[in-house]
């Protein structure tokens, strides 16, 4: 069996108190996981769940309090430079020096990874053209839009033939069509080069589309790891939409009597109900003389799972 290129064991990060007499804060609490070769693993969780802290530790820009990170079977703390030769990242929230042009910035990063000369030029031309920013290459970074910067950062991340890429909300500032291209690009890189990717996003449809598996973090702990659809299925509550012809007030009263959340918009009643209980509910509804002309059942999605898991945060 092939060894996972990234193995994280019992990783914990506790920050010291900000003020004297305050309490230390544990942002990541004893998490263990593996990123398999060619896998796209989603890292989800509400704000403050520990996603960014985890990524920072995986990049070596934040040291763990306890636990270990192993890249390619080697201890990251001891072999940081060698490991990072094959690990890159892109984030919407990190910029590049604004005095340098796009091309100069990428040349600096290419040189850091020893990707130079024609290899650099061919690769950059390919990536920048793919992302539609080839014409911007001689502009300084301060002249680019947020979306353009994001695409440059992605080009940077895939420049040095990485084996692992950490993508922190790579589509956050992109238009839907460009975001679609990014997803296509990420999948292609995995398919062509077997790149393993750790992917964070707040777009649940995107995570469902791109990720093989999703790891859900909450208050620094991993609370679930599964395929996106399995996580969605674990939410038993579906949304049933009824276009009510007659008995809107009665349906609201009826649903509330059974402790079911109900919302009314115009003639439509939206009832949150366990999928298993729908048939029984409709049978009872018939007995109440309530007539409806349309019925639709929205199956639970990853977003529902996310909302359910994040509820305690609010």
């Amino acid at each position: 069996m092939k060894k996972s290129p990234l193995v994280v064991q019992h990783l914990t990060k506790t920050f010291p108190p900000e003020k004297k007499g305050g309490n230390p804060f544990t942002a990541v609490d004893d998490i263990s996981f593996e990123l398999k070769e060619g896998q796209i693993l989603g890292l989800l969780g509400p704000n403050g769940a520990g996603k960014s802290t985890t990524i920072s530790m995986l990049l070596g820009t934040l040291s763990p309090t306890t636990g270990s990170i192993q890249y390619f079977g080697r201890n990251f703390a001891r072999h940081k430079s060698q490991s990072l030769q094959h690990v890159t990242f892109a984030s919407t929230y990190i910029k590049m020096p604004w005095r340098l042009t796009v091309w100069e910035n990428l040349k600096v990063y290419g040189t850091l990874y020893n990707v130079q000369g024609q290899v650099f030029e061919h690769r950059m031309e390919r990536f920048l053209k793919f992302f539609g920013v080839w014409d911007q290459r001689h502009k300084t970074m301060n002249m680019l839009s947020a979306g353009q910067i994001t695409r440059i950062m992605l080009s940077k991340a895939f420049l040095p033939y990485p084996k692992i890429v950490l993508l922190d909300e790579p589509t956050a500032s992109l238009d839907p069509d460009i975001a679609h291209e990014v997803r296509k690009f990420v999948k292609l890189q995995r398919q062509e080069h077997g790149v393993s990717i750790l992917y964070t996003s707040h777009n649940m449809d995107e995570v469902t589309d791109v990720c093989d598996e999703v790891m859900f973090l909450k208050k620094g702990k991993i609370i679930a790891v599964d395929k996106p659809l399995n996580l969605a299925r674990s939410v038993s509550t579906a949304r049933m939409r009824l276009l009510v012809k007659d008995g809107l007030k009665r349906i609201r009263k009826f649903a509330r009597a059974q402790n079911l959340p109900v919302a009314v918009k115009g003639r439509e009643a939206v009832i949150e109900i366990d999928e298993q209980a729908i048939a029984q509910f409709l049978a009872k509804l018939a007995g109440e003389n309530i007539s409806y002309s349309q019925i639709a059942v929205d199956k639970p999605t990853l977003e529902d799972y996310f909302l359910q898991m994040s509820k305690d945060e609010l």
């Binding site: 430079s81 990072l84 030769q85 910029k95």
Partner: protein, 260 residues
């Protein structure tokens, strides 16, 4: 240590020189203003005092002070530039090692300082016929001492910024400034208040400036002063590297992302 990573940092800090006036003004404009100001002042002082060596001592002090300034500025200012550009995480999430960063900024300071020095020297020699070669081969240890001093000041400033954040960025400009009077750059040490002379005696550059003034006035090289200066310099450089690396470790403990 990989040469290509040092080259990358060279590119990172040399590319902006193509188009950035504020970087060029640091390297050329202010040193030229200083040179004109002190050049004319030194000529006037030499004429009124009747001692030609005063002018040479002041002009050499100016040259040497610029070496310290440039050497320290390249170390600490390059770090603050990465923070201003939100680039620290970008850099240190690559295979780049801290020691490679240190070597590259030290070498960069050498290159940029050389550039500034050529321009100032041309003006000093061209306008006032200052005989800077009067010191002969002794110029090499004098310059080496100044660069070393610049490096350790820069490393301490950079370490302070890494530890306490950009709110302390003023040390890039104030720390070398604090050393200026204690180094007895433009006046003899004996003119300094007695109580403060004790501090000056543990500042390595004091010995160099004192030696230069003595030689310019027709004296000889004082080996004890020169050795003391280098001993202090190497000790402070070692301590500054230690402090910088500890500050870097401290900063990574809190996360380099906090500078974004």
């Amino acid at each position: 240590m990989k040469a290509h990573r040092i080259k990358a940092l060279f590119l990172r800090h040399l590319y902006p020189l193509r188009r950035d006036f504020d970087l060029l003004s640091d390297m050329l404009y202010w040193p030229l203003v200083d040179t004109l100001l002190w050049g004319i002042t030194s000529q006037w002082l030499a004429e009124t005092s009747g001692q030609a060596s005063v002018a040479l001592a002041i002009l050499m002090a100016l040259l040497m002070w610029n070496i310290i300034w440039r050497a320290q500025s390249e170390v600490s200012r390059n770090l603050i530039d990465e923070i201003w550009n939100n680039n620290l995480v970008n850099l240190f999430s690559t295979p780049l090692m801290v020691r490679e960063w240190l070597v590259s900024v030290m070498l960069l300071s050498f290159i940029k300082m050389g550039f500034t020095l050529v321009v100032i020297t041309t003006v000093v020699v061209g306008m006032w016929q200052a005989d800077i070669l009067f010191f002969g081969w002794w110029l090499i240890p004098f310059i080496a001492a100044m660069i070393t001093t610049g490096w350790w000041i820069g490393l301490i400033s950079a370490g302070i910024i890494l530890r306490y954040g950009p709110k302390m960025q003023t040390v890039v400009w104030t720390l070398p400034g604090a050393l200026l009077p204690f180094s007895a750059v433009f006046f003899p040490l004996e003119r300094f208040p007695q109580a403060l002379q004790a501090i000056s005696r543990v500042v390595p550059t004091t010995y160099i400036f004192e030696t230069m003034r003595a030689v310019a006035a027709g004296g000889v090289i004082d080996w004890y002063s020169l050795t003391t200066s280098f001993a202090f310099n190497f000790l402070y450089l070692a301590l500054a590297i230690w402090y910088f690396t500890r500050s870097m470790r401290h900063s990574v403990k809190l996360g380099l992302g906090r500078f974004n």
